[in-house]
Amino acid sequence: MSDGPAGGLRLEMRAIRKSFGTQAALDGVSLKVRAGEVHAIVGENGAGKSTLMKVLSGAHQPDGGQMWLDGTPYAPAHPQEARQRGVGMIYQELSIAPHLSVAENISLGREPRRGILLDRAALRSRAQSTLAELGHGQIDVDAPAGGLSISQQQIVEIARSLAMGCRVIVFDEPTSSLAQADVQRLYALIDNLSRRGLAVIYISHFLEEVRRLATRLTVLRDGRSIAVHEVDQVGDAQIVAEMVGRDIQDLYPRSVRKKGAVALEAILPDIGPITLHYGEILGLCGLVGAGRSEILQALFGLELKKDARIRKDGHTVGPGPRHSWAARLGFVSENRKEEGLALSLSIGDNVCLPALGKLGRLGFLSPARRRQNTGQWIQQLDIRCQSADQNIGNLSGGNQQKAAFARLLEADCEILLLDEPTRGIDIAAKAKIYATIDRLVTDPLQPRAIIMVSSYLPELLGVCDRIAVVRRGKIGHPYPVAETSSEQLMKEATRLS
């Protein structure tokens, strides 16, 4: 299926440089990928991973450096040329034509013809044989691709790359939108690709994933390639240190926690009771789709549940987000871009939105006050930006998330409901958020109460005081962190019946 010697050098990038204006996005990156290996690229957001991949796929032209593909010079002028040369990309955002059939999607742009007519039989058989090769022959090639699940659409995209004869396939954070079972299937598929002698480049935030899949990895930092490792000969601590450029001794700081009075008592029909104290962090884990986010949304009043009873400090909280904010109950959404932030507005507008009344009197507000209040959180949470008036859409994911967090601080929230607060952000921003959470919950004057939902168990075990498993929409009994383990929680989350 793929020519070139297995184990030989398939792709080489040497001293690649690329600047946008005065900003150097890539400042000398070298990368060697062998045929038949899965090569991981790790680095913080902004380290240059996506720019590097855009250079590789022909979307950007490098300012300097050279590339070779199977020993011949490679300099694609545009993405089509890169695909013709055999370099395929699987992006986070899938590029499926939803109304076309699976078979049509797989041959998109390279449809088999008989004369001037489309050769439907060849189209279908090509799709069937490619999907069968990938071990997913059960997908109906005549079905519209838009009706497939996300993970099946991803498989169709991979099949497209394979059908085009790609020799290098790049995966850009492919598991971020998949459920656990689909992730396992994708891993098996990637193993399959590398056994066939393709070179796979795998970009990920998750070191566990890298360990599972990759044979080697390259660390990027500030647009440079810092190090190349055999995956089984390097420790996590070293990789993380190379990614952030310094040692992160203690990613999950844990000051002495003092459990205080009851902050929140909720009875949610069909979900279960929840009791939360000041000075503690309750973690909710479970599979994607188990109903974790729905619990936070119900507590916050975004989804109004019939007969739900939510009491804070002994007083009933009215329905809807407005009453929740007024009761000092704040929420960080898991969908930063779709729900969490108004991307065309400034940082200040976003941070101050729930508590605009604080910025003035009688319905008026002072932009200077907004700048001042927001500036305080920018300093405290180390939000990297030019000013509080800067458009929030221009910030990196990590800094956007810190701003979403600042909103709760600006509104003086005493109870914080955090839904996947560190999803898709780099490790330095994660560290800042963990430290902030710890500081808030142990604040001697005003200890907050926090509920945190996460798909990442090490994070919950590192941050929380108690962890409960959510399964099929119901919340289980919370365990003190010291008395549980990721194995036990995983077992409970995946238990059938």
Binding site: P321, A342, D349, L353, P354, L356, L365, P367, I378, S387
Partner: protein, 326 residues
């Protein structure tokens, strides 16, 4: 980390963004002035441009609120016509200014409320809703006026706003209606920038889900925004009577496109969350200057339309390039 002590609106890049529409206006006007009939720069020329801009411009102030909130009102032209009929009828029936103005504004606000309720409570999309009210409001206007234009030439307090200035008031430079438009724009800018309501309008338009999550009463904001749009359409109807001397149920046809184009040329995004009231006024002026310039230079109607359309498309393209550069 150091934070810039200046508001971002004062930095060069942002300043250019604010001034963009103004530069376009200066460019278009300068082009006609330098290469065409110099009359466009005379006192009469400027007065005529202002007279023609005020009706569109005042309605565009209200439309800016609607578009910032990610809504649209295609029926604003019909609403202006209806309000002009209400104003002319009330005035010739002998009612005083306070009565006439209240009745006209009320007509506009009620029309806006109806649109807002359809959008908020029936959950229709604004585009389709207002395509319907475009016909409904025009029907009301025709019915109320018996399909006849209502003559209000003799109502001097109404005519005063957009008539040519009498000799003793030449120091005003432009007709009082022009000053009213500028005052209203300043007021609207203040509301959008310095009130809780104004920022909530931006929030609803930028991301409705976020606004809801942050406790903004999204439904109430939308209702208010359409009512504000209606109120400005009412004032615009009054100005139409002042300019034309009659309340015309078939008048203001097609104005919705000029008004929406003004707002978009002024830098607003039809996706919501972005827009500026003074930008919209400048957009309205750009359109009038092109029309007046073409007329003064004897350019025929077909070419005038092609030029106007090209300017609208160019403005949107330039705006997109500008955003991409951000």
């Amino acid at each position: 980390m150091s934070l810039s002590p200046y508001p971002s609106t004062l930095r060069p890049a942002a300043l250019l963004k604010t001034l963009g529409p103004l530069l376009a206006l200066a460019f278009v006007w300068g082009l006609f002035f330098v290469f065409g009939n110099r009359a466009i720069g005379s006192a009469e020329g400027i007065e005529s441009i202002v007279q023609q801009t005020v009706v569109i411009g005042i309605a565009a102030i209200g439309m800016t609120f609607i578009i910032i909130s990610a809504g649209i009102d295609l029926s604003i032209g019909s609403c202006i016509a209806l309000c002009s009929v209400v104003a002319a009828k009330a005035a010739i029936a002998g009612h005083g200014p306070a009565w006439v103005i209240s009745a006209t504004l009320l007509a506009g606000i009620m029309a806006g409320l109806a649109i807002g309720m359809l959008v908020v409570y029936v959950r229709l999309i604004p585009f389709i809703t207002t395509l319907g009210t475009l016909l409904i409001l025009r029907g009301f206007a025709l019915g109320l006026a018996n399909s006849q234009a209502i003559n209000a030439q003799e109502i001097s307090w109404l005519r005063f706003w957009l008539n040519s200035l009498p000799e003793n008031l030449k120091w005003l430079v432009i007709p009082p209606g022009g000053w009213l438009m500028i005052f209203l724009a300043a007021l609207a800018t203040g509301i959008l920038r310095y009130t809780v309501f104004g920022r909530q309008v931006f929030a609803v338009g930028s991301n409705e889900q976020t606004a809801r999550l942050c406790g903004v009463a999204v439904d109430r904001i939308k209702l208010l925004v359409y009512m504000i749009g209606g109120a400005f359409a009412g004032l615009s109807g009054l100005m139409l009577v002042s300019y034309q001397g009659q309340g015309d149920p078939t008048g203001a046809t097609g104005y919705e496109l000029d008004i929406i184009a003004s707002v978009v040329i002024g830098g607003a995004s039809l996706n919501g969350g972005v827009g500026s009231v003074f930008g919209s006024l400048i957009g309205a002026l750009v359109m009038t200057v092109i029309r007046t310039g073409c007329t003064l230079n004897g350019i025929d109607e077909s070419t005038t339309r092609i030029i106007t359309g090209t300017i609208i498309v160019t403005a949107v393209v330039v705006d997109r390039l500008r955003r991409r550069a951000d």
